[in-house]
Subunit: 147 residues, 2 copies
């Protein structure tokens, strides 16, 4: 069972790798695209935080994505320091072309489960998440040189 989860994660990793190659971007940039898809337009700093990047790294990532034509910068009219980053039309299409069918399939598969079964899965996932959260705290909290 733990192995199943592990395999699922490996498979997801593979998908990401293939998707990145398909879009002609690296994994970092793909992560940015993913966040923008999930959360809509973000400012550069929001995107940096969402993707776990420093400011400098975010800037160059956005540069690359803009050069590729998947993303565009839009100056905020109210606060001209801010730069909004959003998917271009082509970016939206390309992302949909890759992840759309996967989402559709996932949706279809979910429909094959009964509500009771979905409830079990939901419980499983939330417990797994709880374990991870607990141990993330443990790993964060402990004395640095404890090992």
């Amino acid at each position: 069972m733990t192995r199943d989860v592990q395999e699922l994660q490996d498979a997801t990793d593979l998908i990401d790798e293939l998707a990145a190659r398909r879009l002609g971007v690296n994994r970092t940039d793909l992560r940015c695209l993913s966040r923008l898809t999930a959360r809509g337009p973000l400012t550069a700093s929001e995107l940096a935080a969402a993707a776990g990047l420093t400011g400098g790294a975010a800037t160059t990532a956005i540069d690359r994505l803009e050069r590729t034509g998947l993303v565009e910068r839009v100056r905020d009219t109210a606060d001209r320091r801010r730069v909004h980053v959003r998917l271009t039309l082509r970016g939206t299409q390309d992302v949909r072309e890759i992840w759309g069918p996967i989402a559709d399939d996932a949706q279809a598969e979910l429909l094959r489960f009964s509500l009771a079964e979905l409830d079990v899965v939901e419980t499983f996932l939330s417990r797994a998440l709880a374990i991870q959260a607990r141990h993330a705290d443990r790993l964060r909290g402990g004395a640095e040189g404890a090992l």
Copy 2:
């Protein structure tokens, strides 16, 4: 539901990041440690394949891990070209200290589910895996410039 899976993956990613920091290694090296833990001693090339690295990258990764004292090289006595890589005693202990409690908790949580429920979860995971495999093929197979 899809979001739950996503969150679980993000959480796992966070755990990996914290674990790497705790062990004083980078993510690549952590992946090597993970493979060695799961599969026991491996030759350099086996480890490279398992971790998705080229030979050269594997060599430097092993160098780093050896310098950190988590891993050691052992020349094969029969075929002296081969180098076996295995966790040192300290490496084994450190890895256990980080992932052991997580595995224990996971095991304990699984016991709270009935066999029927575990069956549902298993089905869910295998279907999710099937979807990923199918789409990995799609992404691999299609014409390169199709986007």
